[in-house]
């Protein structure tokens, strides 16, 4: 059996308030099927509280040839990193 299907990227939010995290993709021919398939493939062991599915073709990605111009300029600008601040002892998770 063959039928037309798209690829959808799957994002799972593990707990309320946290960001959705990319976990993989599924094939599906409509959005309900994409959500059902994502649920079956990625959340069978209590992994999530919310699922997003997005058609892969709707994602805009930077190209690898752009990576120099996109990311390298940050290298010599240390002042963009908050490394000059002294952290108080009590502050955790920073």
């Amino acid at each position: 059996m063959t039928y037309k299907s798209d690829i959808w990227e799957v994002f799972i939010q593990s707990k309320n308030g946290l960001a959705h995290k990319h976990v993989g993709n599924v094939h599906a021919s409509d959005k309900k099927m994409a959500l059902d398939n994502a649920r079956d493939l990625y959340t069978r062991r209590n992994e999530g509280s919310c699922i997003w599915v997005v058609k892969t073709s709707h994602i805009v990605s930077s190209e690898s040839e752009d990576s120099e111009s996109f990311f390298d300029p940050a290298n010599d600008k240390v002042y963009r990193h908050p490394t000059f601040y002294k952290m108080p002892d009590g502050a955790k998770h920073i």
């Binding site: 059996m1 039928y3 299907s5 599924v26 094939h27 599906a28 021919s29 409509d30 309900k32 099927m33 059902d36 398939n37 649920r39 079956d40 493939l41 069978r44």
Partner: protein, 248 residues
């Protein structure tokens, strides 16, 4: 056999036999995703069957849940005739699931109010799973019915073929009546209206036509089955029967 035991076995057997049918799809699904979905549903159903069989074993006092699953013959299984029907094509399996899931959704909702704490707890736990099974089969029937000419024709044929098994859901016999009187069992005859409404609205959305009333086939709940159930059991029970002391 006590009334409560038979009542519990009927519930367990529906899940067990349908689970076995769904498991037959494993590695043969139309897509990888659907293969996993159907295997997941099969596992849910085995889990439900296990819960009810454990309770049946407790009522029985002698046989274990495994004995009940693997050492009974077809004539001692009390599942609906519908669930033993062979899978056929994918659309056929989904029609069978839709008819069953819709009923079990309503059934478990009522059973979760049972005066029998074990049955009500098992029903409550199973209800969450059946909600998803229903959503899965309903989405597929709408998709296939309202899909191509060919998919519509195929699921319409399946609907026409399987319709004759649906009256069994709503039958009330002596066992049911005693359980209803004790506020343990569900009066399924009262569920027919809502079941019909859900099925009608689903098949309307799926651009399918409700089959006309035909001669109904029942009897599964009293152990009267097609020879398809014997073939299913032969495969399902092969290992424990051939190697009675096998451990895994």
């Amino acid at each position: 056999m006590s009334t409560l035991l038979k009542y519990t076995l009927r519930i367990a057997d529906n899940s067990l036999i349908l689970g076995q049918r769904m498991a037959e799809w494993c590695s043969k699904g139309p897509t990888l995703e659907e293969d996993i979905a159907m295997s997941n549903i099969a596992l849910d159903l085995f889990g439900q069957a296990n819960g009810f069989l454990e309770y049946a074993s407790k009522i029985d006092g002698q046989k274990t849940a495994d004995d009940l699953a693997f050492k009974r013959d077809a004539s001692n299984f009390y599942n609906f005739c519908l669930v033993e029907v062979e899978n056929g094509h994918f659309g056929n399996t989904m029609i069978r699931s839709l008819l069953f899931d819709t009923f079990y959704l309503l059934f478990y909702k009522e059973l979760s109010k049972s005066q029998d704490e074990n049955l009500s707890a098992l029903a409550f736990k199973s209800l969450k799973e059946i909600k998803y099974h229903f959503r899965h089969s309903q989405n597929w029937i709408i998709r296939l019915g309202d899909g191509t000419k060919e998919s519509n024709k195929k699921v319409q044929e399946s609907l026409n073929n399987l319709w004759k098994y649906t009256d069994e859901f709503f039958e009330i016999d002596n066992v049911d009546q005693i359980m209803i009187d004790q506020k343990i069992g569900v009066n399924t005859s009262l569920l027919k209206k809502e079941w019909t409404e859900i099925i009608e609205s689903t098949i309307n959305e799926a651009k399918l036509i409700k089959p006309s009333t035909i001669k109904m086939i029942t009897g599964g709940r009293d152990g009267k089955h097609s020879n398809k159930l014997s073939s299913l059991l032969k495969e399902m029970q092969y290992l424990p029967r051939k190697y009675p002391n096998a451990k895994w």
